[in-house]
Homo-oligomer: 295 residues x 4
């Protein structure tokens, strides 16, 4: 029985010469798998899942499951606007013994994505998904928000085990925690609101920051479990500029440059994303130094 | 020296026969002034400040200061799109010995309200304001947001003592707390994100909920000061539906109906606002009972 | 019987030493009143109505009506978030023989401004307004939009004669023209979508551009009445950059600088608005030259 | 040399038993190919392109090109968030002798989609695309808008031949027409703003309405070419409610139900989209009758 808790990171997908660079990915994985993280998310937003061909997605699932299953929890991002693809990838994830699937809200026909439509969609999916479903609310990228009323309804489905909420709307996150089934886990989707989410009752998080600072992510969760709030706040504040740089300000290109700077392999993101320019790179280096991630 | 901290409520302005009902207001004030609140805000959003004539605003300032100064802290909402009016009301507030002014971001020319423009505006205002200035960030009503970078710059002004942030954006609130001058207080603008704001370092709040549950508002702040997090969470969750009903769902009309139901005088809001319809009133009564505010 | 048609301009309000500069305004008025405009709007968005004290508004109504009534149609912007103020100013406009009032959608409690609430508001207003009411839909500034369904319902009220729609949403404008009472006039609120609005059936416009190019505004309407579409398009395209500069890009400060450049008195806007900086002023001058408004 | 002009329809993709129903599609195609349309768009928004597996997309391209090339112009929607997929589908479209590709703005990483990033993306794409590229600006679905400044820059690329603009922002459409290279065609993306777009200089349109009323779409363009504006307006107004029903109000599910009602095969959309409920279906039938499309 899978329980969604603790710190995960949505791992970056490294590219070289237009292809997924599996040798580089293997080294990166070794770093994450030997960290204090609870698990990894393959093909999240920071994994550029939307930029992968279907066959690349399948190959990536197989590779990551082979390396990581048994060492850490593995969640596969199978969401897409194509229900058929989501089903196919979910089956493959199950065959490869992943722990759960992360399914982003379908997001192309925004005007039509009413609660009733999303409830129908996720219910049908969860009814047939061989793996437990984690909902993925990412309004910044999708332009669609799953309300706490909808999440509360979906939380009663036995095969829906949690939500990664990246809205940053702490009111909604609190209402969701209050109203959802007790077995349902709320996950924060960003370091910037992880501490308040945990304090309101969230069970963990999926954090871009975990790519470069996995142990600190796990430590924050521990500090809060121990009610060491002042220490926790200091840790949050110290890494807040790093987190802002690799998410809101410079995005995946910034995250990958930070990875390169810290001895991992980041490389360039796929189009349309771009690497930060010279000024951006210098800004990131300075931020990493100030936060003492880079000596 | 005024320090912005603790629980305030933005008091509702009661109307009868098209005029401010001062006799009713006096009774309501007695309730708030004998509560555990730190202070009151006169002419906040829940006070329908935008619906008052200039002469009514002046009269209301005099009346409230006369009743409340010395018993509780008194902050006067003097913000408006008219700088001249804000200055005039600020002088009157000072003459009547109010403690501070609350100044909402000017909001009509939204496209022009860049950080540079707002920094110029608030700096000029604070330079000449006889009372300490509390900034009021209320994007839900104004459509303008004051960024944490702007707030950080303004926090260095000796006559700007804090911000009431009603954005509900806990990332922004956290960044503001981290980056602002230590003497600058961040206030949460709504019960729904008060607890997480306090835990990140906010000093208090201005809460519509304080109109009907002033002691509970003060108690939450005490519980968190004592690190009693589980008790605090239970209190937050118990009153969350009441708070949602009198703010997001039914607005000022809902707040006033709740006041009527609880032995205060609410009455009807001014146009364009309306009282809740029959179904809404029944919903509110049920919510008040479930929360044990109404027996 | 007042009919809303033709080209109006929302006149700028000139300030000097913190007060309305009536001598400068008088000269500006002479320019507009001897143009081909159908009329003027006093205290529109470009007249900075939100930045005027109530007593200034009253004085300005008296002054402009005295100078302009009988020479041009005069519409007074009486809208505000304060219903009582809107009523008072409307009575004063009637006493001073203005032709109509322009009433902006109330805009502070955005979340509450549902169609039902706005229909109640405008109906109550129109029931008692001594002058015909022109609705003012300005979502860019107010954050509230009046739907074509709402406009259609309100168009049946005998004392509501039209709408100035500044949404720029030509679908909505077309639906409004199709669905509203035939006696109801739709006005475009900006040069940038005037031509298409007229071609779909709008009766005229209220145009910031009319402050500096009043005859061209009237001429466009004539060209379209004569079905001279190619000439019309050339005129639209020639002045499009000027219009963008004095509205979307540099706002009221830009409009006032353009007025100064063209021999009118613009001066500085009131806070929070600011004049364009040096680069902006040079940009505007170049644009005025390219459009052959400035030699 | 391909020139983008006239009326196209983005054809619906029919499904039966979870697969593309090619027999039904063939009959539908016969209807469109014998109409006055200039061409068809395969895999536009109304073709549910985001809901198709990669292999289904490839099959659909082959099928439609085989049936339609030579009879009508054929544009293939190859856009997606995956650049690699867009390239692959574009090569296949070229092999199958389609006329052009329609490429929607990449839309997942909204915050990163600045003009510079989009210019880089579309330039790289157009540099290697074997077929002429038509840009697809669809902010309602993507949450990303391509500014007229960006479109103007891209219009200089010899392999970018036009834009389908579904923003409905007539100011932007006018500015784009004014500023783009003369060889570049602007297409309106919806019946609701087609007439004003044509009058400002657009060359044609891609219209969901063309699925059910292809000849009327072509006729409107003819009427405007003949300067028969009153007739054109009557036609626009007659079909406006039908258009609203099958796009904004009931979406693809509504379009497909209307197709079923009119003797074509619509069927059910794929998840997450749903067919209209009973009240919606009755509404659509009534609208079709009022517009005299259904007897």
């Amino acid at each position: 029985m899978f329980t969604l808790k603790g710190a995960y990171t949505p791992i970056a997908t490294p590219f070289e010469n237009g292809k997924i660079a599996y040798d580089k990915l293997e080294k990166n994985l070794e770093f994450w798998l030997s960290s204090k993280l609870e698990g990894i998310v393959v093909m999240g937003s920071n994994g550029e899942f939307v930029s992968l061909l279907q066959e690349e997605k399948e190959e990536l699932i197989r590779f990551c499951c082979e390396k990581a299953v048994g060492r850490k929890k593995v969640i596969i991002g199978t969401g897409s606007n194509c229900f058929e693809e989501t089903l196919k990838l979910g089956e493959l994830a199950a065959e490869n013994k992943a722990d759960a699937v992360l399914v982003v809200t379908p997001f192309y026909y925004k005007g039509a994505m009413k609660d009733k439509v999303l409830e129908n969609y996720f219910t049908k999916l969860a009814d047939i998904s061989p793996l437990p479903v984690v909902l993925y609310n990412m309004p910044g990228n999708t332009g669609v928000n799953t309300s706490s009323a909808l999440l509360s309804a979906l939380s009663r489905h036995p095969n829906i085990v949690g939500v990664k909420d990246t809205s940053g709307n702490i009111t909604q996150i609190s209402e969701t925690i209050k109203n959802c089934d007790p077995s349902f886990s709320v996950f924060a989707g960003n370091w910037s609101f992880l501490m308040p989410s945990l304090l309101m009752g969230a069970k963990g998080a999926t954090l871009a920051l975990g790519n470069v600072a996995p142990n600190e992510c796990a430590e924050l969760i521990e500090l809060i479990a121990q009610n060491k709030l002042e220490e926790a706040r200091q840790l949050v504040f110290r890494l807040m500029p790093v987190n802002a740089a690799i998410t809101a300000r410079y995005g995946v290109g910034g995250l990958k440059f930070a990875m390169d700077s810290l001895g991992l392999f980041g490389g360039e993101p796929r189009l349309p994303l771009m690497s930060p320019d010279k000024a951006g790179r210098e800004d990131i280096l300075q931020i990493l130094k100030t936060a003492e991630l880079l000596k």
